[in-house]
């Protein structure tokens, strides 16, 4: 509990940095229109999106890891994020959808399709390596089809537009877009959090869970669908962001005494914290053009991922 309060405090500090109240207030006093523009059009949507997307990744990652009994399962490794990007690209450039909520639905559908394919290819209780390879195959395939869909898209600017979008960025999103991502994601996250103790019981295996009165297949499918909605809606608005959904649950389990289901709540806070901080860094780094936040999480996340894989290999050979 203390650790969670400490985490929330750190998150508050990060939020204070992301929304510097005094300077915003000062700007508002000098010119209310400028102040409103800065706060409502620039800063607030960006911070909300980082917070919500990070929390969604943390919770969905923890939930998927619990269901697959695999500490390497996550929205990005499972192919769900790439599938969501494909869904959004198809909806945006080929179906001509412009409504943010419609695009979010396409993202959720893409994520769901990727996770369904993962279960077909690897099964629900696959070995970690099998799941990883199947997820990698789906990611590669979805990425290739996404590139193809962009290259052949009716709009000649599709490729150029998609750079800022698919690489993961919170810049210049409207309140409408933020709402389209976060409303479905929030509902899905809350429904996932309600399944925490059931997912804890899953740690003993599906047979024990079933003999205790749970319905493992139903629970798994619910968790997968809810994770797809949470991640898919966010990807459709802010693009795919890697590693947060993998790392946040790993750190969260240190706070939940190893319980996979109970780790969802701290994973939400950690995921939100990671993305708010990553966005702060992206904003602070003095480059002539801003780099997408997804590039930063990939740069920082890859070594952590390798550390996890090495750790798993050690525990297997031990």
């Amino acid at each position: 509990m203390k650790k969670i309060i400490a985490l929330a405090a750190i998150l508050a500090v990060a939020l204070h940095l992301a929304l510097p109240w005094h300077s915003l207030r000062a700007a508002w006093d000098i010119d209310p229109d400028l102040g409103r523009l800065l706060l409502l059009e620039l800063r607030l949507p960006r911070v909300l999106l980082a917070l919500g997307y990070g929390a969604a990744l943390g919770v969905a990652g923890a939930a998927l890891q619990a269901v697959f009994a695999n500490p390497l399962a996550s929205p990005d490794i499972s192919g769900a994020s790439t599938g969501a990007a494909l869904g959004a690209v198809l909806g945006g450039y080929w179906l001509g959808l412009t409504q943010p909520l419609a695009l979010a639905a396409c993202g959720a559908a893409g994520a769901l399709a990727a996770l369904a394919l993962l279960i077909v290819l690897a099964g629900r209780r696959a070995e970690p390596a099998t799941l990883l390879l199947a997820g990698l195959a789906i990611s590669l395939a979805a990425g290739a089809v996404t590139s193809l869909a962009l290259a052949l898209a009716p709009s000649p600017f599709a490729f150029y537009d998609s750079f800022d979008w698919l690489m993961g960025s919170f810049v210049d999103r409207s309140f409408g877009q933020v709402a389209a991502a976060l409303l479905p994601a929030t509902v899905a996250v809350l429904l996932l959090l309600r399944r925490a103790s059931a997912l804890d019981l899953f740690a003993l295996g599906e047979d024990v869970a079933a003999s205790s009165g749970l319905r493992p297949r139903k629970l798994s499918l619910e968790v997968i669908a809810l994770s797809a909605v949470a991640v898919g809606a966010c990807v459709a608005v802010a693009g795919a962001i890697g590693f947060v959904g993998l790392i946040a649950p790993v750190l969260a389990r240190k706070l939940s005494r190893g319980h996979p289901g109970r780790a969802m709540a701290p994973a939400a806070i950690i995921g939100a914290l990671l993305l708010v901080c990553a966005d702060l860094i992206v904003r602070a780094v003095p480059l002539d053009r801003p780099i997408p936040v997804g590039v930063l999480t990939a740069l920082l996340g890859t070594p952590l991922f390798i550390w996890l894989v090495v750790g798993m290999r050690r525990s297997m050979t031990a």
Partner: protein
């Protein structure tokens, strides 16, 4: 008095429809060749997904009862000792219990000599240690029916004897234990032995009678050559299963 009545138990192609009645607290062994259906019989009594039939414990239908009540009726310890997550031993014993009962958990930690391991993550323990943890968990909610899939494998001799003592104490406390075993020399500690092969119950007798039954030797393809001494039957006898 605890009783178990199971009707029409079946599991995919692995277990043909089977009835089972155990009317008193007792220690029941399940034996049989590999792949014969021991685990499937245990799993179908434990009500895993897709298990057909009905199981009544003390007249209560297990499928219809809510989880909180169900944990008082039966518990299941699977053959797999794998646990992915670093959950401390003490927490694992209370996993799934609505209201944790600290004194019960402490007593079980003590009985299974897990006191020193209580705060260690369960995925860092040895297979035999994990077997003790899972055994303690199976007993934590005071279930009337305890289903144990090969609890004696991976145990050192001390713990084999201790587990058999713990089984007997549970029977004295009014419980029914159904335990799958491979080591035939353990059978004499049981009240009743059920031989499962080809997805069906083939024999259901007192252990001593089972061991001396001719069909027992045919099904296992071994023959008694002395006290607790078995040899492989000649290949010519192999297919005379029934």
């Amino acid at each position: 008095m605890t009783s178990l009545v199971a009707r029409g138990l079946a599991l995919a192609t692995r277990l043909h429809p089977t009835d089972l009645v155990i009317s008193d607290p007792s220690l029941v062994a399940l034996v049989g060749p590999n792949g014969g259906g021991k685990t499937s019989l245990l799993r179908s009594i434990a009500r895993v997904e897709n298990a057909a039939g009905n199981v009544f414990v003390d007249g209560e239908c297990v499928d219809g009862t809510p989880p909180a009540r169900r944990r008082r009726l039966l518990s299941f310890m699977p053959a797999s000792r794998d646990i992915t997550w670093p959950i401390p031993v003490r927490d694992l014993l209370g996993l799934g219990a609505d209201a944790e009962d600290p004194s019960r958990i402490e007593a079980l930690l003590h009985t299974l000599e897990l006191d020193l391991l209580a705060d260690r993550p369960v995925n860092q323990l040895s297979t035999g240690e994990r077997a003790r943890v899972l055994m303690a968990r199976a007993m934590a909610s005071h279930p009337k029916l305890i289903l144990l899939d090969e609890p004696l494998s991976n145990l050192d001799p001390y713990w084999v004897i201790r587990f058999l003592e713990i089984f007997r104490q549970a029977v004295h406390a009014g419980k029914i234990l159904i335990v799958s075993v491979h080591d035939l020399s353990q059978l004499r500690h049981f009240d009743r032995a059920i031989l499962v092969a080809d997805g069906a119950v083939q024999l259901d007798k007192a252990p001593a009678e089972l061991l001396s039954d001719e069909r027992f030797e045919n099904i296992f393809r071994i023959t008694l050559a002395g006290a607790d001494e078995w040899t492989v039957k000649q290949p010519a006898d192999q297919r005379s299963l029934r």
